[in-house]
Protein backbone atom coordinates (compact mmCIF):
# COMPACT_ATOMS: atom_id res chain seq x y z
CA UNK A 1 0.00 0.00 0.00
CA UNK A 2 1.45 3.29 -0.95
CA UNK A 3 1.00 6.49 0.98
CA UNK A 4 2.13 10.02 0.33
CA UNK A 5 3.98 12.64 2.31
CA UNK A 6 4.39 16.41 2.23
CA UNK A 7 7.87 17.87 2.40
CA UNK A 8 9.65 21.18 2.72
CA UNK A 9 12.91 21.21 0.76
CA UNK A 10 15.79 23.62 1.22
CA UNK A 11 17.99 23.20 -1.83
CA UNK A 12 21.33 24.81 -2.66
CA UNK A 13 20.84 26.96 -5.77
CA UNK A 14 23.86 28.38 -7.56
CA UNK A 15 23.54 29.57 -11.20
CA UNK A 16 27.16 28.75 -12.17
CA UNK A 17 30.63 28.06 -10.71
CA UNK A 18 31.53 31.69 -10.05
CA UNK A 19 28.13 32.81 -8.73
CA UNK A 20 27.19 33.04 -5.09
CA UNK A 21 24.73 30.37 -4.04
CA UNK A 22 22.08 30.16 -1.36
CA UNK A 23 19.45 27.79 0.00
CA UNK A 24 16.01 28.13 -1.62
CA UNK A 25 12.90 26.76 0.06
CA UNK A 26 10.32 24.71 -1.84
CA UNK A 27 7.25 22.85 -0.63
CA UNK A 28 6.25 19.60 -2.24
CA UNK A 29 2.94 17.85 -1.51
CA UNK A 30 1.66 14.32 -2.16
CA UNK A 31 5.02 12.65 -2.72
CA UNK A 32 4.54 8.89 -3.00
CA UNK A 33 6.64 7.04 -0.42
CA UNK A 34 7.52 4.50 -3.15
CA UNK A 35 9.45 7.17 -5.05
CA UNK A 36 13.21 7.37 -4.96
CA UNK A 37 14.86 10.55 -3.81
CA UNK A 38 15.75 11.49 -7.39
CA UNK A 39 12.17 10.86 -8.56
CA UNK A 40 11.06 13.26 -5.85
CA UNK A 41 13.47 15.84 -7.31
CA UNK A 42 12.04 15.08 -10.79
CA UNK A 43 8.58 15.94 -9.46
CA UNK A 44 9.93 19.19 -8.07
CA UNK A 45 11.60 20.03 -11.39
CA UNK A 46 8.40 19.33 -13.32
CA UNK A 47 6.58 21.69 -11.00
CA UNK A 48 9.30 24.36 -11.39
CA UNK A 49 9.27 24.01 -15.18
CA UNK A 50 5.48 24.44 -15.29
CA UNK A 51 5.85 27.57 -13.17
CA UNK A 52 8.39 28.85 -15.68
CA UNK A 53 11.27 28.62 -13.18
CA UNK A 54 14.74 27.14 -13.57
CA UNK A 55 14.73 23.43 -12.58
CA UNK A 56 17.26 22.15 -10.01
CA UNK A 57 20.35 20.71 -11.72
CA UNK A 58 21.52 17.43 -10.19
CA UNK A 59 23.76 14.56 -11.26
CA UNK A 60 22.20 11.21 -12.13
CA UNK A 61 22.57 8.42 -14.65
CA UNK A 62 21.79 4.74 -14.07
CA UNK A 63 19.47 5.28 -11.07
CA UNK A 64 20.20 1.75 -9.88
CA UNK A 65 23.11 2.52 -7.59
CA UNK A 66 25.99 1.31 -9.74
CA UNK A 67 27.21 4.20 -11.87
CA UNK A 68 28.37 6.66 -9.19
CA UNK A 69 26.89 9.75 -10.84
CA UNK A 70 24.32 10.80 -8.25
CA UNK A 71 24.89 12.13 -4.79
CA UNK A 72 24.05 15.04 -2.54
CA UNK A 73 24.25 15.89 1.12
CA UNK A 74 20.82 15.35 2.72
CA UNK A 75 20.53 16.88 6.19
CA UNK A 76 24.29 16.78 6.60
CA UNK A 77 24.82 13.17 5.49
CA UNK A 78 26.10 12.11 2.06
CA UNK A 79 23.50 10.05 0.14
CA UNK A 80 21.02 10.63 2.97
CA UNK A 81 20.31 8.81 6.22
CA UNK A 82 20.20 5.18 4.98
CA UNK A 83 23.33 3.01 5.13
CA UNK A 84 25.06 1.73 2.00
CA UNK A 85 22.73 3.25 -0.58
CA UNK A 86 23.26 5.88 -3.22
CA UNK A 87 20.88 8.82 -3.42
CA UNK A 88 18.98 7.20 -6.32
CA UNK A 89 18.34 4.08 -4.22
CA UNK A 90 17.15 6.05 -1.20
CA UNK A 91 13.38 5.90 -1.03
CA UNK A 92 10.94 8.46 0.31
CA UNK A 93 9.49 5.90 2.76
CA UNK A 94 12.43 6.75 5.02
CA UNK A 95 11.06 10.26 5.53
CA UNK A 96 8.03 11.50 7.42
CA UNK A 97 5.34 13.89 6.29
CA UNK A 98 6.21 17.42 7.40
CA UNK A 99 9.98 16.80 7.29
CA UNK A 100 12.23 19.64 6.19
CA UNK A 101 15.16 18.36 4.15
CA UNK A 102 18.28 20.42 3.50
CA UNK A 103 19.89 19.32 0.22
CA UNK A 104 23.42 20.52 -0.56
CA UNK A 105 25.96 19.49 -3.20
CA UNK A 106 29.01 17.33 -2.36
CA UNK A 107 31.66 19.88 -1.42
CA UNK A 108 35.42 19.74 -1.68
CA UNK A 109 38.10 22.17 -2.81
CA UNK A 110 38.72 19.67 -5.63
CA UNK A 111 35.03 19.47 -6.64
CA UNK A 112 33.95 22.82 -8.19
CA UNK A 113 30.17 23.32 -8.27
CA UNK A 114 28.94 23.62 -11.86
CA UNK A 115 25.32 24.46 -11.06
CA UNK A 116 23.06 23.82 -8.04
CA UNK A 117 23.78 20.20 -6.96
CA UNK A 118 25.90 19.44 -10.02
CA UNK A 119 29.64 19.14 -9.33
CA UNK A 120 32.80 18.50 -11.31
CA UNK A 121 34.41 15.30 -10.00
CA UNK A 122 37.03 15.00 -12.73
CA UNK A 123 39.74 15.24 -10.03
CA UNK A 124 38.89 11.60 -9.22
CA UNK A 125 39.21 10.65 -12.90
CA UNK A 126 42.66 12.26 -13.02
CA UNK A 127 43.75 10.14 -10.02
CA UNK A 128 42.73 7.02 -11.99
CA UNK A 129 44.46 8.33 -15.12
CA UNK A 130 47.71 8.75 -13.21
CA UNK A 131 48.06 5.01 -12.59
CA UNK A 132 44.83 3.23 -11.71
CA UNK A 133 45.19 0.64 -14.44
CA UNK A 134 47.28 -2.33 -15.53
CA UNK A 135 49.37 -1.91 -18.69
CA UNK A 136 49.16 -5.01 -20.83
CA UNK A 137 50.12 -5.86 -24.37
CA UNK A 138 46.90 -7.40 -25.54
CA UNK A 139 47.11 -10.70 -27.37
CA UNK A 140 44.93 -13.75 -27.37
CA UNK A 141 42.54 -14.32 -24.50
CA UNK A 142 44.60 -15.74 -21.62
CA UNK A 143 43.54 -19.00 -19.99
CA UNK A 144 41.34 -18.26 -16.99
CA UNK A 145 43.34 -20.45 -14.65
CA UNK A 146 46.84 -19.54 -15.81
CA UNK A 147 47.38 -17.36 -12.71
CA UNK A 148 45.78 -19.02 -9.68
CA UNK A 149 44.38 -16.49 -7.18
CA UNK A 150 43.06 -17.53 -3.76
CA UNK A 151 39.29 -16.98 -3.51
CA UNK A 152 39.68 -14.80 -0.40
CA UNK A 153 42.15 -12.53 -2.17
CA UNK A 154 39.85 -12.24 -5.19
CA UNK A 155 36.95 -11.35 -2.89
CA UNK A 156 38.95 -8.60 -1.18
CA UNK A 157 39.89 -7.18 -4.58
CA UNK A 158 36.23 -7.29 -5.63
CA UNK A 159 35.21 -5.52 -2.41
CA UNK A 160 37.62 -2.70 -3.25
CA UNK A 161 36.49 -2.69 -6.88
CA UNK A 162 32.92 -2.03 -5.71
CA UNK A 163 33.88 1.66 -5.39
CA UNK A 164 31.77 3.63 -7.87
CA UNK A 165 33.71 6.88 -7.43
CA UNK A 166 30.71 8.93 -6.33
CA UNK A 167 32.84 11.16 -4.10
CA UNK A 168 30.74 10.75 -0.93
CA UNK A 169 33.93 9.90 0.99
CA UNK A 170 35.54 13.20 -0.02
CA UNK A 171 32.35 15.14 0.68
CA UNK A 172 31.99 13.67 4.17
CA UNK A 173 35.63 13.70 5.25
CA UNK A 174 36.17 16.43 7.85
CA UNK A 175 39.38 17.21 5.95
CA UNK A 176 38.12 16.71 2.40
CA UNK A 177 40.58 13.85 1.83
CA UNK A 178 40.24 11.40 -1.07
CA UNK A 179 42.03 8.57 0.70
CA UNK A 180 39.16 6.05 0.68
CA UNK A 181 38.64 6.49 -3.07
CA UNK A 182 42.37 6.31 -3.90
CA UNK A 183 42.90 3.37 -1.55
CA UNK A 184 40.05 1.41 -3.15
CA UNK A 185 41.42 2.07 -6.64
CA UNK A 186 44.91 1.00 -5.53
CA UNK A 187 43.72 -2.02 -3.52
CA UNK A 188 41.65 -3.56 -6.32
CA UNK A 189 44.88 -3.90 -8.29
CA UNK A 190 47.42 -4.39 -5.47
CA UNK A 191 45.54 -7.48 -4.26
CA UNK A 192 45.89 -9.28 -7.59
CA UNK A 193 49.11 -10.61 -9.14
CA UNK A 194 48.38 -8.78 -12.40
CA UNK A 195 48.34 -5.49 -10.57
CA UNK A 196 51.36 -6.05 -8.39
CA UNK A 197 53.87 -5.66 -11.23
CA UNK A 198 53.27 -1.90 -11.47
CA UNK A 199 52.31 -1.56 -7.79
CA UNK A 200 55.07 0.80 -6.71
CA UNK A 201 54.84 3.24 -9.62
CA UNK A 202 51.07 3.22 -9.22
CA UNK A 203 51.11 4.04 -5.51
CA UNK A 204 53.57 6.91 -6.01
CA UNK A 205 51.80 8.37 -9.05
CA UNK A 206 48.26 8.14 -7.67
CA UNK A 207 49.18 9.63 -4.28
CA UNK A 208 51.11 12.46 -6.00
CA UNK A 209 48.08 13.19 -8.22
CA UNK A 210 45.72 13.01 -5.23
CA UNK A 211 47.86 15.55 -3.35
CA UNK A 212 48.12 17.90 -6.32
CA UNK A 213 44.33 18.01 -6.82
CA UNK A 214 43.89 19.86 -3.54
CA UNK A 215 42.31 17.14 -1.41
CA UNK A 216 42.96 17.30 2.34
CA UNK A 217 44.97 14.98 4.56
CA UNK A 218 43.46 11.89 6.16
CA UNK A 219 43.18 12.02 9.96
CA UNK A 220 41.54 8.60 10.33
CA UNK A 221 38.17 10.06 11.32
CA UNK A 222 36.35 7.12 9.60
CA UNK A 223 33.50 9.28 8.25
CA UNK A 224 34.23 8.11 4.68
CA UNK A 225 33.68 4.46 5.55
CA UNK A 226 30.45 5.29 7.40
CA UNK A 227 28.80 7.02 4.42
CA UNK A 228 30.23 4.95 1.56
CA UNK A 229 27.29 3.57 -0.46
CA UNK A 230 29.39 0.52 -1.33
CA UNK A 231 30.71 -0.16 2.19
CA UNK A 232 34.37 0.28 1.23
CA UNK A 233 36.43 -0.37 4.38
CA UNK A 234 39.22 1.86 5.68
CA UNK A 235 41.26 -1.33 5.76
CA UNK A 236 41.97 -0.27 2.18
CA UNK A 237 43.49 2.98 3.49
CA UNK A 238 45.80 0.94 5.72
CA UNK A 239 46.77 -1.05 2.61
CA UNK A 240 47.39 2.17 0.68
CA UNK A 241 49.63 3.41 3.51
CA UNK A 242 51.62 0.16 3.36
CA UNK A 243 51.82 0.25 -0.44
CA UNK A 244 52.96 3.86 -0.41
CA UNK A 245 55.57 3.33 2.32
CA UNK A 246 57.13 0.33 0.56
CA UNK A 247 57.04 2.17 -2.75
CA UNK A 248 58.64 5.36 -1.48
CA UNK A 249 61.38 3.46 0.38
CA UNK A 250 62.35 1.10 -2.42
CA UNK A 251 61.34 2.59 -5.76
CA UNK A 252 63.98 4.05 -8.07
Amino acid sequence: MSSSINLTLKIWRQPHSDALGSLETYTLDHISTDMSFLEMLDVLNEKLTKEGKDPVAFDHDCREGICGMCGAIVDGVAHGPEKEVTLCQLHMRHFKSGDTLVIEPFRSRAFPIKKDLLIDRSALDRIIQSGGYVSVNTGGTPDGNSIPIPAKQAELAMDAAACIGCGACVASCPNGAAMLFTSAKISQLALLPQGQVEGKERALAMVAQMDSEGFGNCTNARECEAVCPKGISIRNIARLNREYLTAVLSEG
Partner: protein, 215 residues
Protein backbone atom coordinates in the same frame (compact mmCIF):
# COMPACT_ATOMS: atom_id res chain seq x y z
CA UNK B 1 64.73 13.53 -3.99
CA UNK B 2 62.75 10.62 -2.60
CA UNK B 3 62.95 11.83 0.99
CA UNK B 4 61.58 15.29 0.22
CA UNK B 5 58.82 13.78 -1.89
CA UNK B 6 58.04 11.41 0.97
CA UNK B 7 57.76 13.96 3.80
CA UNK B 8 55.84 16.47 1.69
CA UNK B 9 53.23 13.93 0.54
CA UNK B 10 49.98 13.59 2.47
CA UNK B 11 50.76 10.01 3.54
CA UNK B 12 54.36 10.95 4.38
CA UNK B 13 53.17 13.62 6.81
CA UNK B 14 50.83 11.08 8.40
CA UNK B 15 53.71 8.66 8.80
CA UNK B 16 55.85 11.37 10.42
CA UNK B 17 53.01 12.04 12.88
CA UNK B 18 52.65 8.30 13.57
CA UNK B 19 56.40 7.68 14.04
CA UNK B 20 56.95 10.67 16.33
CA UNK B 21 53.74 9.79 18.16
CA UNK B 22 55.08 6.29 18.80
CA UNK B 23 58.36 7.69 20.18
CA UNK B 24 56.48 10.09 22.46
CA UNK B 25 54.31 7.19 23.61
CA UNK B 26 57.42 5.17 24.48
CA UNK B 27 58.74 8.16 26.44
CA UNK B 28 55.47 8.25 28.39
CA UNK B 29 56.07 4.61 29.35
CA UNK B 30 59.51 5.39 30.82
CA UNK B 31 58.16 8.51 32.52
CA UNK B 32 55.24 6.61 34.04
CA UNK B 33 57.56 3.83 35.25
CA UNK B 34 59.90 6.34 36.95
CA UNK B 35 57.12 8.38 38.50
CA UNK B 36 55.38 5.30 39.83
CA UNK B 37 58.12 5.19 42.50
CA UNK B 38 56.26 8.11 44.14
CA UNK B 39 53.69 5.57 45.35
CA UNK B 40 56.48 3.71 47.27
CA UNK B 41 57.87 6.61 49.30
CA UNK B 42 59.56 9.98 48.97
CA UNK B 43 62.93 8.31 49.64
CA UNK B 44 62.53 5.82 46.78
CA UNK B 45 61.42 8.59 44.42
CA UNK B 46 64.32 10.85 45.51
CA UNK B 47 66.77 7.95 44.99
CA UNK B 48 65.42 7.39 41.48
CA UNK B 49 65.67 11.11 40.63
CA UNK B 50 69.20 11.41 42.08
CA UNK B 51 70.37 8.30 40.24
CA UNK B 52 68.94 9.61 36.95
CA UNK B 53 70.51 13.04 37.36
CA UNK B 54 73.87 11.65 38.45
CA UNK B 55 74.38 10.94 34.71
CA UNK B 56 73.88 14.44 33.26
CA UNK B 57 74.88 13.35 29.76
CA UNK B 58 72.13 10.72 29.59
CA UNK B 59 69.59 13.33 30.65
CA UNK B 60 70.94 15.90 28.18
CA UNK B 61 71.03 13.57 25.15
CA UNK B 62 67.68 11.98 25.99
CA UNK B 63 65.87 15.26 26.56
CA UNK B 64 67.36 16.91 23.46
CA UNK B 65 66.22 13.97 21.33
CA UNK B 66 62.82 14.08 23.02
CA UNK B 67 62.52 17.80 22.36
CA UNK B 68 63.36 17.30 18.69
CA UNK B 69 60.72 14.55 18.35
CA UNK B 70 58.17 16.67 20.19
CA UNK B 71 58.83 19.72 18.00
CA UNK B 72 58.42 17.65 14.83
CA UNK B 73 55.16 16.13 16.15
CA UNK B 74 53.77 19.56 17.06
CA UNK B 75 55.10 21.30 13.94
CA UNK B 76 53.76 18.77 11.43
CA UNK B 77 50.55 18.42 13.45
CA UNK B 78 49.85 22.17 13.35
CA UNK B 79 50.77 22.32 9.67
CA UNK B 80 48.27 19.52 8.91
CA UNK B 81 45.66 21.22 11.09
CA UNK B 82 45.90 24.50 9.15
CA UNK B 83 46.14 22.73 5.80
CA UNK B 84 43.00 20.71 6.55
CA UNK B 85 41.13 23.73 7.83
CA UNK B 86 41.81 25.54 4.56
CA UNK B 87 40.21 22.65 2.65
CA UNK B 88 37.19 22.05 4.75
CA UNK B 89 36.17 24.91 7.02
CA UNK B 90 32.39 25.43 7.17
CA UNK B 91 31.54 23.53 4.04
CA UNK B 92 27.90 22.78 4.74
CA UNK B 93 24.88 24.62 6.13
CA UNK B 94 23.90 21.40 7.89
CA UNK B 95 26.69 19.03 8.81
CA UNK B 96 26.50 15.90 10.85
CA UNK B 97 29.08 13.31 11.84
CA UNK B 98 27.88 9.77 11.28
CA UNK B 99 30.62 7.95 13.20
CA UNK B 100 29.89 7.37 16.86
CA UNK B 101 32.64 8.08 19.41
CA UNK B 102 34.17 10.65 17.09
CA UNK B 103 34.94 12.99 19.99
CA UNK B 104 38.58 11.89 20.33
CA UNK B 105 39.31 12.05 16.60
CA UNK B 106 37.52 15.37 16.14
CA UNK B 107 39.39 17.06 18.99
CA UNK B 108 42.94 15.81 18.29
CA UNK B 109 44.47 19.28 17.57
CA UNK B 110 42.80 20.79 20.64
CA UNK B 111 43.67 18.00 23.09
CA UNK B 112 47.20 18.10 21.65
CA UNK B 113 47.52 21.85 22.17
CA UNK B 114 46.14 21.55 25.70
CA UNK B 115 48.75 18.90 26.50
CA UNK B 116 51.38 21.30 25.08
CA UNK B 117 50.19 24.04 27.43
CA UNK B 118 50.42 21.53 30.25
CA UNK B 119 53.95 20.57 29.19
CA UNK B 120 55.16 24.17 29.32
CA UNK B 121 53.73 24.64 32.82
CA UNK B 122 54.97 21.22 33.92
CA UNK B 123 58.52 21.82 32.70
CA UNK B 124 58.72 25.26 34.32
CA UNK B 125 57.29 23.83 37.54
CA UNK B 126 59.52 20.77 37.82
CA UNK B 127 62.45 20.67 35.39
CA UNK B 128 63.42 24.27 36.16
CA UNK B 129 62.42 24.14 39.83
CA UNK B 130 64.91 25.55 42.44
CA UNK B 131 67.89 23.20 42.67
CA UNK B 132 68.24 23.48 46.45
CA UNK B 133 64.79 21.94 47.12
CA UNK B 134 64.72 18.13 46.69
CA UNK B 135 62.38 17.09 43.83
CA UNK B 136 60.43 14.80 46.16
CA UNK B 137 59.41 17.89 48.19
CA UNK B 138 58.66 19.97 45.08
CA UNK B 139 56.21 17.31 43.86
CA UNK B 140 54.35 17.28 47.15
CA UNK B 141 54.30 21.08 47.53
CA UNK B 142 53.14 21.75 43.97
CA UNK B 143 50.47 19.09 43.75
CA UNK B 144 49.07 19.75 47.23
CA UNK B 145 47.65 22.91 45.68
CA UNK B 146 44.11 21.84 44.78
CA UNK B 147 43.79 23.89 41.58
CA UNK B 148 47.27 23.04 40.34
CA UNK B 149 46.50 19.34 40.78
CA UNK B 150 43.08 19.80 39.16
CA UNK B 151 44.77 21.36 36.13
CA UNK B 152 47.10 18.36 35.98
CA UNK B 153 44.18 15.91 36.08
CA UNK B 154 42.35 17.88 33.37
CA UNK B 155 45.46 17.73 31.19
CA UNK B 156 45.69 13.96 31.75
CA UNK B 157 42.06 13.58 30.64
CA UNK B 158 42.96 15.46 27.45
CA UNK B 159 46.02 13.19 27.07
CA UNK B 160 43.84 10.10 27.50
CA UNK B 161 41.55 11.24 24.67
CA UNK B 162 44.53 12.19 22.52
CA UNK B 163 46.14 8.78 23.02
CA UNK B 164 42.95 6.79 22.53
CA UNK B 165 42.59 8.07 18.96
CA UNK B 166 46.35 8.47 18.48
CA UNK B 167 47.25 4.85 19.20
CA UNK B 168 44.67 3.40 16.83
CA UNK B 169 45.41 6.06 14.23
CA UNK B 170 49.15 5.37 14.41
CA UNK B 171 48.62 1.67 13.73
CA UNK B 172 46.23 2.47 10.85
CA UNK B 173 48.82 4.82 9.35
CA UNK B 174 51.51 2.13 9.64
CA UNK B 175 49.09 -0.11 7.74
CA UNK B 176 48.21 -2.35 10.70
CA UNK B 177 44.51 -3.05 10.20
CA UNK B 178 43.40 -6.66 10.01
CA UNK B 179 40.20 -8.34 11.22
CA UNK B 180 42.27 -10.67 13.43
CA UNK B 181 43.70 -7.77 15.48
CA UNK B 182 40.73 -5.40 15.34
CA UNK B 183 39.33 -6.19 18.79
CA UNK B 184 42.79 -6.37 20.34
CA UNK B 185 43.75 -2.95 18.96
CA UNK B 186 40.41 -1.47 20.02
CA UNK B 187 40.99 -2.68 23.59
CA UNK B 188 44.62 -1.61 23.57
CA UNK B 189 43.72 1.94 22.54
CA UNK B 190 41.39 2.08 25.54
CA UNK B 191 43.48 0.26 28.15
CA UNK B 192 46.88 1.90 27.54
CA UNK B 193 45.63 5.52 27.72
CA UNK B 194 43.68 4.63 30.88
CA UNK B 195 46.83 3.06 32.34
CA UNK B 196 48.65 6.38 31.86
CA UNK B 197 45.69 8.23 33.32
CA UNK B 198 45.75 6.01 36.42
CA UNK B 199 49.48 6.50 37.03
CA UNK B 200 49.83 10.20 36.20
CA UNK B 201 46.38 11.21 37.40
CA UNK B 202 46.86 8.99 40.46
CA UNK B 203 49.94 10.98 41.49
CA UNK B 204 48.07 14.29 41.26
CA UNK B 205 45.10 12.76 43.10
CA UNK B 206 47.43 11.29 45.76
CA UNK B 207 48.69 14.73 46.82
CA UNK B 208 45.56 16.71 46.03
CA UNK B 209 43.44 14.71 48.46
CA UNK B 210 46.10 14.62 51.15
CA UNK B 211 46.51 10.83 50.84
CA UNK B 212 50.20 11.42 50.24
CA UNK B 213 50.70 13.82 53.16
CA UNK B 214 53.17 11.48 54.88
CA UNK B 215 54.73 9.99 51.76
Amino acid sequence: MWFVRFVTSSIGKKLVMAATGLLLFLFLLTHAAGNATIFMSSAVFQDYADELHSHPLIVLVFSSALLAVLLVHIGVGLYLFYENRAVSNNRYVVSKRVVKNSLASATMPYTGLFVLLFLVIHIFGFTFSPKDVPISSTVRDMLSNFFYALFYITAFIALTFHLSHGLWSMLQTFGVNHPRYELFIARLSLVLPLFFFLIFGGIAFYFMTGLGANY
